[in-house]
Structures are given as C-alpha cells and as structure tokens.
C-alpha cells in the first residue's frame, strides 16, 4: 500500500458567516471539520481513487483524536504515532467575499517521540509500495528528518516522493528521493538568484537534485526533469476553483504512477488532470470526477529535447 507521511497534520475547520466584521461577534451558521495537512489530503485522494493507502505521522491530544475519528469515518486507513502535544487547528472563516484563515502553530515534538515515530515508520515499510512525505516539519523534528526517512525507505527498497519546502526540501533532495514535487515558489526560495523562464527552472532543478523532479506551476501545469529528459504538461482549459489541495492531488497521482512504473507522458497527464479536478472541488482533499476524466482525456504532454527543441507527444 501507499504510505502517506504527515508530520504536522491539522484539524481544518471552516466557519460559514454572513460577513466578517473585524472586532464584531459572529454566530457561525455552519461548521465543517476535515482532516487537514498535505499528507492527509494525499491519503484521502488515493482512498477516493480506490487505491490501498495508509496515513501515518504524528497526532496528539483531543484535536488529534478528532482527526483520527474523521479519517476513520471516511474509511482511510491510518496508523499514527501519538505525541504529548496537541495537534494544531486551522480555521477558515468564509463569507460572501472570500476566506480569512487562522493557522495555529504546530505542537513541539520531543526527541523521544521522533525516535518512536521513526521506529514505527520502519515497521510500516514492510508493507509499503511507495512512501509520500508531505508538508512542513513541526518544531522538534530535526531538519534532516525527511532525509532520514528517505534513507530508511531506500534501505527497505521502497521509493519515496517528497513534497516540502525550505531547508527540509534541500536536505530531503540531498538524500535522493525517487521523486520530488516542489512548486515553483518553493524551488525559487532555495535558489533566489535563479534565471527566469523554463530553462532557468530546469537549471535550478538540476543544481538541487540528481533524481527526477516534478515542479508544479499552478495553472501553467507541471514541468518534469528526469535525467536528460524534460517534459511539460498543462490542463487544456483553465479550471476555476480552490487551488488548495491541488498539489496534494498531484502527489497522489505521482505516487500511484511511481508504484506502477507509469511512463512519464501518462504520469504527467494523470497528475495534471487530478490536480485540475482538485481545483474544481470546493474542499482540499476532494476532487471532481468529471473534471478528472475530461482533463485526463485531453491533456497533452510536450517533451523538450536536451538540445532545447520540443515535440508534442500523445500520452496514450
């Protein structure tokens, strides 16, 4: 099964109000509770696709209990290592205009809790086909935490897919994951001097990683760098909606493809389509099946040769 790691999960609360009035008091008309955090979105998308998946990571306190309950209610398999701190909440207050977000800080993880998680993680590798590593590291987890998990997985012969940012991304890339999926901004933050344009992005990827990398670029779609090969894929029509969780849907598709040794063109078209379908769904971790179907059928993949020329390829 695909194991999704979420070290800093959250309970995502959405509050519907008529209009946000600073320094006013609001009766919340409706409350939505969801399991939150990028890795849990990956797990929920994979589960909705019918793929065997196990969500793991760190959960604590009654907020952590609630996250576990919500995952169980959706039928998503989970095996989390308990921590003493309280799992964070996020609150999105939605009015007619837009959403206003409040993000609690994550709990601090002790060295003993991290050691327990890494031991639990090594135990899960026996049944893992692919491991995804998503999101930020909570305080207390060493900055090379993902790098160590990548090394453990590699020792067990399990490929890893890394989706994080900042120093955790830099350290993780150095450990050689089977695939990494940063977004454009996350890559640029590591290389602020990088040249603009597609060639600058490709050079940046190659300076940071030796293995394959898929860069998500919002509505511009995906750019993949795998050895000498460079591929691009974008949705044929722009999809309007909520981009939160689109990157996680992309990771879900890439993880499945990694497991199935799917060829790059098919893999990228599937990932672009699932990300577009996530944009079309109102909440992160969900996707719109019709957008998924239609985008997958029409997304085209362009291969850029090492010499810089491009040629269109069908992915079917």
């Amino acid at each position: 099964m695909i194991v999704t790691v979420t070290l800093n999960p959250a309970l995502d609360l959405t509050y519907a109000v008529d209009a946000l009035v600073p320094h006013g008091t609001h009766r919340v008309a409706a409350v939505t509770e969801r399991p939150g955090g990028k890795g849990l979105n990956v797990a929920r998308v994979l589960h909705a696709l019918g793929e065997p998946v196990l969500a793991t990571g760190l959960l604590g306190g009654s907020t952590g209990d609630r996250v576990a309950q919500l995952l169980a209610a959706e039928g998503v398999g989970a095996s989390f290592t308990p921590i003493g701190g309280e799992t964070r909440r996020t609150v999105a207050v939605v009015d007619a205009g837009d959403a206003t977000g409040f993000w609690e800080p994550g709990p601090t993880v002790t060295a003993a809790e991290w050691a327990r998680f890494t031991a639990d993680f090594r135990g899960l590798l026996a049944t893992a086909t692919v491991v995804t590593l998503s999101g930020s590291l909570p305080p207390g987890v060493p900055i090379d935490g993902y790098a160590n998990l990548i090394a453990d997985a590699a020792a067990a012969g399990v490929p890893t897919l890394l989706d994080t940012s900042g120093p955790a991304l830099r350290h993780g890339l150095a450990a050689g994951p089977a695939l990494a999926k940063p977004n454009d901004d996350e890559l640029s933050a590591l290389l602020p001097e990088r040249a603009a344009g597609r060639d600058g992005l490709v050079d940046a990827v190659r300076s940071l990683a030796t293995g394959p990398v898929v860069v998500s670029r919002g509505a511009a779609g995906l750019l993949a760098v795998a050895g000498d090969d460079v591929w691009e894929c974008a949705p044929p029509v722009a999809v309007r909606g909520n981009p939160t969780g689109a990157g996680d849907a992309c990771v879900a598709a890439l993880a499945r493809g990694l497991r199935d040794h799917t060829a790059w063109p098919e893999l990228l078209a599937d990932a672009v389509a699932l990300a577009a379908a996530a944009v079309a769904a109102p909440a992160a971790g969900d996707f719109d099946p019709e957008t998924y179907r239609s985008t997958r059928a029409t997304a085209s993949v362009v291969a850029a040769s090492p010499a810089g020329g491009t040629r269109a390829r069908s992915h079917r």
Copy 2:
C-alpha cells in the same frame, strides 16, 4: 457541594494575531484553550475560592473530551452526561485593537440524552447544597428544561439559582427558583414595554417572579428584589477590563451566599466585589484577588424601603 449545571458548554479558544486582515491568512502567535460556558465559569470561580463544587451538564465528542481534560487539569470536579453531538467551540481572535468572536452553534441533544441527564442530575442532588443553572439551552432540550430541574431540586430540598435568558428564563422563573440572576437586558427582553428607571425595573421583576431576583446592571451594580425589600449595591470605583464572566462570578458569590444563608447586604457586597474582580482579570472564569478584597471592603449597600425612601446600610 455546589452543583453548577452547564447544558451548552464550549471550548473557548483565544488566538493572538498581529492584526486581523479580512480575507488574509494569519499565523496565530499563541493559542489559549479554556473551558467555556457560563456555568463552567461559575464552577471555576467557586473552585478558586476554595468552595466544594461539582460541574455537570452535557459534553460530547473530542471537543467535549478536551473541556473535561482542561477542567480536570484545574482540579475542578466534574460529572457530565455524554452526548453524541460535538461540544461547540468559540474562537476569539485578539489583535492590538480588540477581539473578534466566532461562536459555533451548539450540538443538538436527543430526547434520550436529555432523559439520561435529568436522571443523572437527580442522582447528584443527594450531595448538593445549591444548584446553579447557567446559560442557554442547546437545541433539543425542552424549553421548560430548567423549570423541570428546578422542580426536581426543590423536591429534594436543594435551592436553585437561575441565570439564563429568553423563554428559558420565563419558564424557569415560573418554577420558583430560590434566586434568579438575569441582567437588565435579559429582563427587558421579556418585558419590552416596561417603564424606565429603577422603579420600572422593580415592577418588571415583580411581574415576572414571585421569589427573590438579583438584576445585574453592568457598572451600575446589582439590584435585588426580595419580597417587599429592594437593595442596591455598586462598586465604589469603576473597574476597567473584560466584562465577560462578571455575571458568572456574581452567580458564584450568590450561590455560596445562598448555601450559607448570608444576609442580603453582605451577600450583595460580596457579589459586587467578585464581579468587579472578574472584570479586572483578563479571562472569563478568573478573578483578581486584590480587586475582590478592596471592593468587598468598600462596597456599600442601599436599602430602598417599600415606601420608596432609601437609607445606606453597612454590610459589616
């Protein structure tokens, strides 16, 4: 022991942010969690005074578990009836300017859960000296819910103190609690045509209740109507701070006085002082001991004779 009933408790969250920006995203610098709901404030104040107290009511879900944990961590005795719904949260976002509040709706209580609570409540009456009934009724609890609890307590010889509003207040008053503590606005809402001024307030009280009533009037202090007697008591100096929870501190003092058969002048001075001390403390359910001491020593009580004249009385 004093039993405090909270049928619609809450987990109160306070988020510290730099500045609230509508439709922006905020990293919360600090999160405070507290047991919330008027009856839990009463229990916490009594516990801080060293009085034996037991908090009861309805709690559900992981939010309810968290409320129970927080009460236990403070050492407040509690015996709640579990419900299937999720206890509500309140979120107060505090920036340099002021607080912005978000109030979740309460869970719906089933008829079976209400029946279980009333049975549990009757069991607690054996050891109760006074019962306080505070706050709103959650959906599903019958509108005469407090009236029935008042009748049960009376049958067991236990005096009750009612602090609620709207139809629950009207029905509750009809059941004859030993004491009621509405505020001025809550009384006026039941009698929108009432005459202005102190005499109008006294007439309103007498038209709604046959038993004694203490009306809280914010910085104007307390007005008590007990048979032919009318008493007034206000803090000698205005206290600046957070008025949330001041009414609950007042109820705590009145409950203790009801148990101890404290004479009206002392009782009102104590209640005014504890309410002022609650205003001086930053969070509901806490109070400032120095303000309590100084206000209790200096608050003066004025008795209005049936003929309308007034004379000052010391409460010592």
